[in-house]
Symmetry: C2
Subunit: 224 residues, 2 copies
């Protein structure tokens, strides 16, 4: 197994990343094939698909897998079997993610993808077209995660809005409306989430996410 | 990467296997965890899902991957980029398959799965619950494979019906109704398909699959 490429995303850190793809449509990722996979024709016909599967490696997982884990949705209290979750911490740390195909650039061998939920720099093992008739099962039930959590309002202080370009605000609204903190922390403590090269300080007050401040951080290797 | 188990299926040979999961609901597979993954609780909560993803290794792929391939649906004439297909012959030979969860046997650490499309003995890398709200995209389009091919009638000669138990006939009807031959072979030539330990000879005549004969074959390591 050898990564076909390393995706660039607006998420240099794990904290704040939507827990499923598609929850933040403005989260755009760019996947450029590594030189050995840049062969003529590899993407031919890909534009006929509007959604793609990314098969990826959870490269930041550390330590041994455990038979039972505490998924964040369960508030961190309830344990479930690892195979009954989509947790990154699994025997073979392979992840699946459906993303929207925005464009194919054949000159640079790059796919532009929407709604990504991957850490910047994630090694991608495969790209496959989403085949609705075999991949889409509207009749499927999964009681544990029946629907996404309800989004909440995101309000910005004037201070936080200064310096933040409009498209970053759009992305931040989509990311923070899920109040992406551990479910058991239901108080007003402050969090920091880094999107691209902006760090945002926020907290939850009366059921709304309040963005308190924003600052530009050094653009490390993990930023786009 | 280490297989969590090797699935037992009714398909000892590639020829005839449905090209997508779910096309033959009676194709039941059994996945038993390898000893090192038989830990208490690994399946806890799994019954809340009725569909599962199998992430597997295309273990019978040989040779180098090619940038463009001829998918069977295209009649073998039209080439497509490897990333625009679900072909087994890809840079990292990882496959995805949605199957129905029929039962969980905690004593033997075995999952019974319906609608499998995998070769007997396929190494399974992961099992994940199917999460409808993130995995199911009814709005998705893929012009190349918009819907499954149309099934055809399967008729049996009296000779072929002898010796064939009812549940094998049911499975054979579901498998052969897709006339699983290369699309460019549109003549009346005979084929042989092995299901479990039965070899069936068949051909396509006037748009119907005619099962000509059946025989019991030696039950190799690949049979269930």
């Amino acid at each position: 197994m050898e990564p076909i490429g390393f995706i660039r995303t607006p998420f240099p850190e794990k904290f704040g990343i939507p827990r499923q793809p598609g929850l933040a449509p403005s989260a755009v990722g760019n996947l450029t094939l590594e030189p050995q996979f840049q062969k003529e024709g590899v993407f031919d016909g890909l534009e006929e698909a509007d959604f793609l599967w990314l098969v990826f490696y959870f490269h930041q997982q550390k330590g041994e897998w455990k038979p039972k884990i505490r998924p964040p949705r369960a508030g961190g209290n309830h344990k479930r079997g690892v195979f009954a979750t989509r947790s990154p911490n699994r025997p073979n740390p392979i992840g699946l993610s459906v993303v929207k195909l925005l464009s194919v650039d054949r000159k640079t061998n790059t796919l532009q993808l929407g709604g990504v939920d991957l850490l910047d720099g994630t090694p991608i093992l495969d790209v496959k077209p989403y085949v609705p008739y075999s991949d889409c099962h509207p009749e499927a039930d999964f009681q544990f995660a029946h629907k996404p959590p309800d989004p909440v309002s995101v309000v910005w202080t004037e201070e936080a809005l200064q310096n933040v370009p409009q498209e970053l605000k759009q992305l931040a609204d989509e990311v923070l409306c899920w109040a992406p903190r551990p479910a058991y922390q239901n108080d007003e403590r402050e969090y920091g989430t880094t999107l691209r090269n902006f760090n945002l300080r926020w907290r939850v007050v009366e059921g709304k996410v309040q963005v308190l401040s924003s600052s530009v951080v050094a653009q490390g290797p993990g930023s786009t």
